[in-house]
């Protein structure tokens, strides 16, 4: 525990949201990744956030683990695709771009909110250090 604990707690929030952004960008990057039907499709990435007990003297949040969605995906008829099976089907990941964009906004706003907390906390600490100088 230090004097400027708020900064560390907000840093953990920033890290968690950065990892969420990574997961979303991974999902969007692979949204058109086709695989053959004999293989599993790209699995959607999820981050599992977990609160850190403030009683432990830390507080904040951490990404406990990364979870993966279904590898089943959706089967699309693309006979010209080199990966197509003998019936002309390939497998695409079943990721909803709209859902990913919504998550992107949430992750971005969460990141910005944590930055705002750091900014405000810094100003607050500085105001406290100015005490008695007025």
């Amino acid at each position: 525990m230090g004097v400027f604990d708020t900064l560390g707690i907000s840093a953990s929030g920033l890290l968690a949201h950065r990892k969420w952004l990574d997961a979303v960008s991974d999902n969007i990057a692979n949204i058109n990744t086709a695989t053959s039907t004999s293989q599993s499709a790209f699995k959607e990435r999820f981050v599992e956030a977990q609160a850190v007990d403030y009683g432990s003297g830390e507080g904040g949040v951490r990404v406990a683990t990364a979870q993966f969605g279904s590898g089943e995906g959706r089967v699309v008829y693309e006979p010209k695709n080199p990966l197509a099976d003998k019936n002309g089907y390939v497998r695409y990941p079943d990721i909803d771009l709209g859902d990913q964009m919504a998550q992107l906004i949430m992750a971005q706003r969460g990141y910005q909110a944590n930055l705002s907390v750091i900014d405000r906390a810094t100003k607050t600490y500085q105001a406290a250090l100015q005490l008695g100088k007025g």
Partner: protein
């Protein structure tokens, strides 16, 4: 009638009266009560504060080096570390200034 010197004895009950004593002005013998009353003496507070400042600044320096070499994983890590180092410096300087002010006020006291 209260003698003006008795005010010195009264002052020793302030926790901050350790300031004068720890800066080895030689008043320690005049007000021995200041030793026991203060709890943690100011010198060790300042020393630990400086140690903390040193640690914070070397952490920020390490992250700045990582940023220069491209090893930095998170941009915010360095920004927060440098922010914290700046805040810790401001706090230490503020504590130091307060202590020096208090010392000067005591030294400027007409006796």
């Amino acid at each position: 009638m209260t003698s003006p010197i008795s005010a010195l004895g009264f002052m020793s009950s302030f926790p901050t009266s350790g300031v004068g004593a720890d800066m080895s002005v030689g008043t320690t013998t005049a007000v021995p009560a200041a030793q026991g009353a203060g709890g943690t003496d100011f010198a060790s507070v300042l020393a630990s504060s400086l140690d903390g400042l040193q640690a914070t600044q070397s952490k920020a320096d390490g992250l700045a080096l990582q940023a220069a070499t491209g090893d930095l994983k998170d941009v915010h890590d360095y920004m927060i570390a440098s922010n914290e180092a700046s805040l810790a410096t401001q706090m230490t300087v503020a504590i130091k200034n307060k202590a020096v002010d208090a010392f000067n006020q005591i030294m400027g006291m007409p006796v």
